[in-house]
Subunit: 214 residues, 2 copies
DNA sequence: ACGTGTGAAGCATTTCACAGCG
DNA sequence: CGCTGTGAAATGCTTCACACGT
């Protein structure tokens, strides 16, 4: 048995974050040409402890070979499957401001299977452009039609904080099931919809705290 | 006794993150004109539990009045003091690409006391501009001089992943004590230097995981 | 012999429930 | 009386240490 379909056992949020990290590590390992890694190899590279890594994997099945280690290629496949990124996800970006363009400019999203398939923007002048880097650009009132039509499941909110709440409602109405919120606004979503907040200011404040008490 | 200087007792990382959230919440409360809040008010607004909030505060002292609640203004001051954001922090932004400009474009950093006092950039053509929005723009080799001169304590890495490692070394050599790393590169810093990573792709993968197992 | 997989121990964080105080 | 502050209980996560399979 290699891959255990995710069980009803609760998997810690922290485990999921670490799996993402392991996956990135393995990119490097693969580039270095190694075919096999041990949990301690990975631990050294990403600053955790080997037992932790084995436990993390154990939630999903038996990925390794006792006495040997993990076959890098298989392991990475298993991790991706565990995370649900063995496929590609259609996302909508809402807000074509500074931050929105920054997100479009980096390919770290595309590399990990998140495709921005549509952009929604309030400002008619921008919408006028029709598309940006081959990604179609729509006005807000098209959202209800486009999201289902394109099979978009994730919405990325990169508008100004005042508009975030309204946008989140619109996205949910349109059928989006996951929201990544880049604004500091605190949003509420109904059961069955997943919300994640990204707020660098919080990380900076964590830095400040540690620096202030060093 | 109101504010207890942070003790040697270990304060959970999660507590710090929540304090940042409470602080944002209180902005809203203040705007709404309320003078007093209870832990349950805050809990409702930011989706935690009242006991948690009281425990979080208790690490730092006694902020409230029994039988009454918290005076919004005092509370917010106390939280800011606890977090070390009752002052302003000089930061250097390294990398004037898409993401860098996005960071400059938002005032959510400035609002919270993080002032970007200098930008460092590799590309001579950009450096040629001399400044951006009144923030001076320098070439990389000026870093060793400028960082101490301006009293910069935090470095923000917004360059391409391949350059992140080198930049982190340069920042540390220049005397920066805290680093916020926006690249997916895994950095290592010496003891006494604080590193925080921001990686939206990880949050998206967390979303994907939950959506895939809904 | 070696490194994985895993129950059990150890540690940290969250929640409960009530004493304490205005 | 109401809501904070806080020990104690409950829960959750990480680390240990060893059995297991190759």
């Amino acid at each position: 048995m290699a891959f255990k379909k995710v069980s009803r056992i609760k998997i810690p949020e922290a485990t999921i974050r670490r799996l993402s990290l392991y996956d990135r590590c393995l990119d490097d390992v693969r580039k270095a040409g190694k075919k096999i890694v041990s949990s301690s190899d990975i631990a050294r590279k990403c600053g955790t402890n080997p037992a932790q890594i084995r436990k993390d994997f154990a939630y999903f099945g038996e990925f390794g070979v006792r006495g040997v280690g993990y076959y890098v290629e298989n392991l990475q496949e298993d991790i991706k499957k565990a995370l649900g990124i063995d496929r590609s996800w259609n996302c909508a970006l809402v807000g074509a401001g500074n931050l929105g363009f920054a997100l479009l400019g980096t390919d770290s999203l595309a590399e990990r299977g998140f495709r921005i398939s549509a952009i929604f923007e309030q400002d008619p002048i921008l919408v006028e452009m029709g598309s940006f880097r081959d990604i179609p650009l729509f006005s807000m009132d098209q959202m209800q039609r486009i999201v289902p039509e394109m099979g978009i499941r994730i919405g990325i909110i990169a508008v100004s904080p005042e508009n975030a709440l309204k946008v989140s409602h619109q996205l949910i109405d349109a059928g989006v099931k996951g929201i990544l919120n880049f604004t500091p606004a605190t949003l509420k979503v109904p059961l069955g919809t997943i919300l994640k907040n990204v707020d660098f200011a919080i990380d900076l404040e964590g830095l400040a705290f540690q620096l202030a008490n060093a």
